[in-house]
């Protein structure tokens, strides 16, 4: 039976599987730290790297830690002899698991939206004050040999800029490939609805790709009018990460012990809904930009290849340690600590992103490990001090150190025992790491193997765990949450649709997405897939690439690459320029801005709770929940309610929506400065 492969990232272990056939072929070659990732893999790599980045954020780590705590409490519940303690632990385990599942479900379309945005729309630029981690990794894996050549501060800046622009060109070229166009078509014909589709529907549905993607694009309209730098897609992506995934308030709500489900779910649900639907806060945007500018000035003063990035990107271990102590600390002082120790290994293992692995035959002597690849090539690595001598089967793993972006190759003895350091035969990192950094990487490499042990432990206790009654409530809460998603994401996704055609658009897009909206016109959807998805940010990227001032920054190789950009882009650039210079168009924008309604945001905020008391939605949720009180989940997803919500949101957002002509003018001024 043929099984189609999908690249994926698991939120709990943060393990990534890149299923690209090109990558599988290139894997043995990539062991050489100077070889670059194949260009065609870049869009998929960015999609999964974005998931990986988001799951290792403060919110992502908290969700994973709550999953660990739920398992620990479940194991303790079946081990205790006291009935009261068992009930308390069972309830606590169910509470943790419910919060994890509900939050994960609420964020699923957003997570897919950001990843899809990274896959299709984002290009690295040299002007954004800081670089989103997935783009930084892409730059590093595409320009490995180039990035080792610098010797002075001036060199590093030039090399960094050149590597960035080379990656931008490689990414733009790879997006012209038919396989990427096919994926764009697939996204556009995904259902807008995030709920369960009727049985037998052709689309995969429920995963919220289109709703999340359109929501992210619409939020961009809001964001880039609040700050000119957010017009850069890569900087906007970093902002989204900071806004949704490095959110201390959401972490606080997830860890708040003052209430149990369903009451404890209400603040999380409403907080997420408000975050999505309310216009962005200008002060929050300014604060983000101020922090990122501080990061940039630090990066410029360091004499190394240091990409300016989010402050939390460079201290994952410290952040994990802090959250670990806050969430799991108490559990370590009671039985089941063995499980907790393994789980801690798992948390460290989340810091490495795998590109793939290759089976090898290892021959280890003192001082050297010879690893023979299936193709017969031999690779020689400096052997680890504790590695056992002899010949045995091993696995060669290629990873990227999350956050710092270093390249790690390590061989793992297939017959290993997790607590033994001897499991790792040899390890090589590029750039060269200090002993302390290598210790962290070694810990992470071993940590990546612990999920297998954890799974085995959980399987041993599966039967008694299934007997915990409180855990059986979790699927009910989960299905109620799925029902809410349309009410949260559709208004944001369709914010730019004119009100008079909104109802029709919702009906058409619910099951067939943009394909349904275009009355199933294949030619139109293909045209959109080819021409509309490369957004203004991308065109700007090309425009900037063509500027002689920028070209002078780069070496000859980069200039040649730039000259090779297809002629189609020139035509697009001319079209863009003609639209930009159109005084009538600018006048229309100015007129639109004059119609802003002061104080409309607070009106929308006051009006929003009305939707929570919609009787029909509440009744439906009650039916789904089997008659139990589900007062927490009161926002439904039918089209009438969506329209009402949308109207309220639009009142709030009016004035922030639509393109601000001053943004373009300001960017041009910045360029000239």
């Amino acid at each position: 039976m043929v099984r189609p492969m999908r690249s994926l990232t698991e939120y709990f272990t943060n393990h990534t599987v890149l299923s690209s056939a090109e990558l599988a072929q290139a894997l043995p070659r990539l062991i050489d730290p100077h070889e670059a990732l194949p260009q065609s893999v870049l869009p998929t790599f960015l999609h999964e790297a974005t998931h990986h980045w988001c799951f290792s954020s403060a919110v992502g780590t908290t969700i994973a830690l709550l999953s660990v705590r739920a398992r620990l409490r479940g194991l303790r519940a079946i081990a205790t002899s006291s009935t009261r303690e068992r009930e308390n632990l069972e309830r606590a385990a169910a509470e943790d698991l419910t919060r994890v599942e509900v939050t994960r479900e609420l964020m699923r379309p957003l997570s897919e939206g950001i990843a899809t945005f990274a896959e299709f729309d984002v290009l690295p630029t040299i002007r954004a004050p800081a670089v989103a981690a997935p783009l930084r990794w892409a730059i590093q894996v595409c320009n490995r040999s180039l990035l080792t050549e610098g010797t002075s501060q001036r060199d590093w800046v030039t090399l960094r800029n050149e590597a960035t622009m080379r990656t931008a060109v490689a990414l733009s070229t790879s997006r012209q490939d038919w396989s990427v166009r096919n994926r764009r078509v697939d996204i556009l014909q995904q259902p807008l609805s995030c709920s369960n589709l009727p049985e037998g529907h052709a689309s995969r549905g429920k995963e919220g790709y289109l709703a999340g993607y359109l929501a992210v694009k619409n939020l961009w309209c809001n964001a880039r009018n609040l700050h000119e730098y957010l017009a850069f897609a890569d900087y906007y992506m970093l902002f989204l990460y900071d806004y949704f995934y490095e959110d201390d308030e959401l972490v606080r709500l997830l860890l708040d012990d003052s209430a149990l489900a369903p009451e404890s779910l209400a603040p999380i649900t409403f907080y997420m809904r408000d975050r999505l639907l309310e216009p962005l806060d200008e002060d929050r945007v300014k604060d983000f930009h101020r922090r990122m500018m501080a990061v940039r000035s630090n990066a410029h003063s360091s004499n190394s290849l240091h990409f300016p990035s989010h402050p939390n990107d460079n201290r994952p271990s410290a952040q994990t340690e802090q959250l670990w102590e806050r969430v799991i600390g108490d559990e370590m002082r009671v039985p089941c600590a063995d499980y907790a120790l393994f789980a801690k290994g798992l948390m460290y293992g989340r810091e490495l992103m795998s590109l793939g692995s290759v089976p090898v035959e290892a021959s280890v002597t003192k001082g050297e490990a010879v690893l023979t690849l299936p193709q017969g090539e031999a690779l020689r690595l400096h052997v680890d001090a504790d590695a056992p001598l002899g010949r045995f089967a091993a696995t060669l793993n290629l990873c990227i150190g999350t956050r710092s972006g270093y390249h790690v190759v390590y061989a793992l003895n297939n017959q290993f025992y997790v607590k033994h350091q001897a499991a790792i035969i040899a390890m090589q990192a590029m750039p060269a790491l200090s002993d302390e950094q290598l210790r962290v990487v070694r810990r992470a490499a071993l940590g990546r193997e612990t999920p297998v042990v954890l799974d085995q432990l959980m399987r041993l206790e599966q039967q008694p765990l299934e007997g915990l009654r409180e855990l059986s409530r979790v699927p009910g809460y989960l299905s109620q949450t799925t029902e809410l998603l349309d009410g949260m994401y559709e208004p944001r996704a369709l914010l730019s649709v004119p009100e008079q055609v909104l109802e029709e658009a919702i009906v058409k897009m619910r099951s067939d997405g943009v394909y349904g909206l275009l009355d199933e016109r294949e030619d139109l959807i293909r045209a959109i897939a080819i021409h509309a998805c490369p957004d203004k940010g991308k065109r700007r990227g090309f425009d900037r690439l063509r500027e002689p001032r920028d070209l002078s920054l780069f070496a000859r190789g980069a200039r040649d690459l730039v000259r090779g950009i297809p002629g189609r882009v020139h035509a697009r650039r001319r079209r863009t320029a003609s639209v930009r210079d159109d005084p009538a168009g600018q006048g229309a924008h100015e007129a639109r801005r004059e119609r802003q309604v002061p104080g409309a945001h607070s009106q929308a905020r006051r009006a929003a709770p009305v939707a929570r008391h919609d009787r029909r939605g509440r009744d439906r949720i009650r039916r789904t929940a089997g008659g139990r009180d589900a007062s927490v989940l009161r926002v439904g997803g039918d089209s009438r309610r969506t329209r009402r919500l949308l109207r309220m949101v639009r009142q709030g957002a009016r004035g922030h929506h639509g393109r601000d002509p001053r943004t373009g003018a300001r960017l041009r001024q910045l360029d000239e400065a």
Partner: protein
């Protein structure tokens, strides 16, 4: 006929619109689209859609029509699974090259040669 035991052509890397076209052109029993659902704890891309077409004259005509229509793509990979008398299954992979300059007849000729079928059955 079950796609796992009959001669079948696997078309990989098609998009949703191409799949719709194949669904329209072929009877439901001769087209199988393997599910690629992720577990609830997994996030990922949509991946490439793969269609398994049970070989018949109608199916080959539909594939030929699809290839002719999608000449913009330079290469289509078809995997033909053949069930031998002893029960063993062999997978044979063919690449059919097409471009905007190649004629309909050239594309169809490549297809019939790859699948080892009589071109007259397509008339």
């Amino acid at each position: 006929m079950d796609a796992a035991t009959a001669d079948a052509v696997v078309i990989s890397g098609i998009d949703a619109l191409e799949l719709r076209a194949l669904r329209k052109a072929l009877p439901a029993e001769s087209l199988n689209v393997p599910a690629s659902k992720l577990a609830p704890s997994q996030h990922g891309d949509l991946g490439a859609t793969t269609a398994v077409v049970v070989v018949s004259a109608l199916a080959v005509k539909a594939i030929a029509a699809w290839l002719v229509k999608n000449r913009g793509r330079t290469r289509a990979t078809l995997t033909r699974t053949v069930t031998r008398v002893d029960g063993s299954v062999e997978a044979l992979t063919y690449s059919v090259e097409s471009s905007t300059s190649s004629s309909d007849a050239a594309v169809i000729q490549q297809l019939t040669a790859a699948l080892k079928i009589d071109p007259s059955t397509l008339r």
